[in-house]
């Protein structure tokens, strides 16, 4: 079973690619509000990339309601043990 920290490390390159920010360092409490360029458009691209990477499928309500990076990590942990 992966740890949340491990997921965070794996997510970092995905976020960097989608948000076009090479220096981005992720933390669980980061949200669309605190990261520049994270809007609905890039959010969808992030979801696509994450789902492809982990071969998982989030629920629609989940996708609409991720409040921060931490939420995403826990959803990934639940779906991809």
């Amino acid at each position: 079973m992966k740890s949340a920290a491990q997921i965070l490390t794996e997510l970092t390159p995905i976020f960097r690619d989608a948000l076009d920010d090479k220096q981005l360092v992720l933390s669980p409490d980061m949200s669309a509000r605190s990261i520049e360029g994270w809007d609905s458009f890039t959010h969808t691209q992030l979801i696509l990339a994450i789902e492809e990477h982990y071969r998982i499928h989030f629920r629609l309500k989940e996708v609409m309601n991720f409040k921060n990076v931490g939420d995403m990590c826990s959803a990934i942990l639940r779906l991809a043990p």
């Binding site: 809007d39 609905s40 458009f41 969808t44 979801i47 492809e52 629609l60 309500k61 609409m64």
Partner: protein
């Protein structure tokens, strides 16, 4: 009562003084009352629709929170959209049916309703829709107080043409006491001043040439048409940005923060960048509530999901502006462009590494700007045929103009001759275009810190002359003709 009317000029300061000195517990009610009275100045019909949409939204917010069901959500969406769809699109649908029938057989002359649109309905309907959906996906809690909810939908500074606020951003501000704060009030006034200047001195001045040329584009040459399309770009931008600034500024004076709607849109270097800078509150609404669900639903189809989401988003956004083929086409064209933007993101990234950064930036900017200019011709024209004719004339008319200029060795007189027919006093054109250059440069310098904040910390002998310049221009160079409206009021 519009922002640039005399009534507003008198009513707003009076209301502000009363409001900021009122006891805190009464302030939300006072604000609601003021907003409803202001809405009623547009006619009782507007007020009735506003109250109706507010009640539907409030009821469904509570009911969806108590038991989230997709059926209730759909019922709310349909009920909320029904008035807007009915008033805005009935005649268009009848027209379409009629012309389809005419294609096959004799036309059926069905009645046309010519409904007049209640003020702000396109905006507050979306505000309430967003709220109901947010409650459904538990992004926000349902509002418990009907008065607070009504203030959220009716808040006068944003009632007529946005910004499209989110309940999660606005509602927490309602119950905090509002007191006079020198820095805040003066900052708000600087924003209002900037908005009035953009609207009255620049946009209305440009509207003269735009209206004249678009009424009869066949009469003008290539240079004049291209110049006019630029004028329209900036008229549209300054008109709506001016409106938005007055909205944000007056809200700020009263102690509320609203979303900034514009962030130098014409500096964009891609179409997706442009839409992050243009009418930000509404665009982000569309992305949140149209693009996100559509692309999330279809996301097994990978890239197609994003493309479908984008096309759907921009089709709806085009239709939102009104029931006209030009708007639908405008949405579609932008949808396609942003899809291409999305699909070519990786190759572009590679290409960027190859050529010098400034060259890439100017190339990207020029392509984006030219595209937006052409799409705006579509936005302004009466029909798709008229757009085609305008663009064709503008582009093919450039060669003869260039020949004319070379014949006259690019003399000042020959350049003047090319735009001599434009229906605007030339001084006015120079004034408007010159001002645009100054404002855009100030915007460029103020990227990190807004220009008005830099001004605010200057000594009095710099500040006041600057204020006099702006206020004097608004008073003495502002549009004097009576019949000007904010463009975005009609959508």
């Amino acid at each position: 009562m519009l922002f640039d009317s005399l009534t507003f000029l008198i009513a707003f300061p009076v209301f502000t003084v009363v409001f900021l000195n009122a006891p805190a517990w009464i302030q939300p009610r006072l604000m609601l009352l003021g907003s409803l009275v202001a809405c009623a100045t547009f006619g009782w019909v507007s007020l009735v629709w506003l109250i109706l949409v507010t009640l539907i939204g409030f009821h469904f917010g509570r009911s969806i929170e108590s038991a989230a069901s997709t059926q209730r959500l759909w019922a709310a969406i349909l009920l909320l959209l029904a008035p807007l769809l009915l008033l805005k699109y009935t005649d268009f649908v009848i027209d379409a049916i009629d012309s389809a029938l005419a294609y096959f057989a004799t036309p059926l002359i069905r009645p046309r309703f010519n409904f007049s649109l209640p003020v702000g309905i396109s905006f507050y309907t979306f505000v309430v829709l967003g709220y109901v959906i947010d409650v459904h996906v538990s992004r926000t809690r349902a509002e418990r107080s009907i008065a607070n909810f009504a203030l959220f939908t009716a808040f006068y500074p944003k009632l007529v043409a946005g910004p499209v606020e989110r309940q999660a951003d606005f509602s927490p501000q309602i119950d905090t006491p509002k007191r006079f704060d020198y820095a805040r009030v003066t900052d708000g006034m600087r924003i209002i001043g900037s908005g009035l200047f953009k609207k009255l001195v620049v946009a209305d001045r440009l509207s003269v040439v735009v209206n004249g040329v678009y009424a009869n584009p066949d009469a003008y040459g290539g240079t004049a048409l291209i110049l006019t399309s630029l004028c329209y770009m900036f008229q549209l931008y300054y008109d709506f940005c001016g409106y938005s600034e007055i909205a944000v500024g007056s809200a700020k004076v009263l102690g509320y923060d609203l979303i900034w709607n514009f962030n130098r849109p014409y500096a964009a270097r891609s179409i997706s960048d442009y839409w992050r800078r243009w009418h930000i509150s509404l665009t982000s609404w569309f992305f949140e509530y149209v693009f996100a669900p559509v692309s999330a639903l279809l996301r097994r189809r990978r890239r197609m999901a994003v493309i479908c989401g984008l096309l759907a988003t921009f089709l709806v956004s085009g239709l939102w502006h009104g029931a006209r083929w030009t708007f639908i086409c405008y949405g579609l064209v932008h949808g396609i462009a942003i899809s291409i933007d999305y699909l070519t993101a990786r190759p572009r990234k590679r290409f960027r590494r190859w050529i010098p950064a400034p060259l890439y930036a100017s190339l990207a900017w020029a392509i984006t700007f030219a595209f937006v200019a052409c799409a705006d011709v579509l936005f302004r024209s009466d029909s798709i045929m008229a757009t085609r004719a305008y663009l064709y004339r503008a582009i093919t008319g450039l060669a003869p103009d260039l020949r004319f200029l070379t014949q006259h060795h690019f003399s000042a007189a020959s350049m003047k001759a090319l735009i001599a027919g434009l229906p605007i006093p030339k001084m006015d054109l120079v004034l408007a275009l010159g001002t645009i250059v100054v404002i855009e440069l100030a915007g460029y310098w103020g990227r990190e810190r807004p220009f008005r904040q830099i001004l605010a910390i200057q000594p009095l002998w710099i500040r006041w002359p600057a204020y006099y310049l702006v206020a004097g221009a608004i008073v003495y160079l502002g549009s004097q003709n009576a019949a000007t409206m904010f463009i975005y009021m009609k959508y």
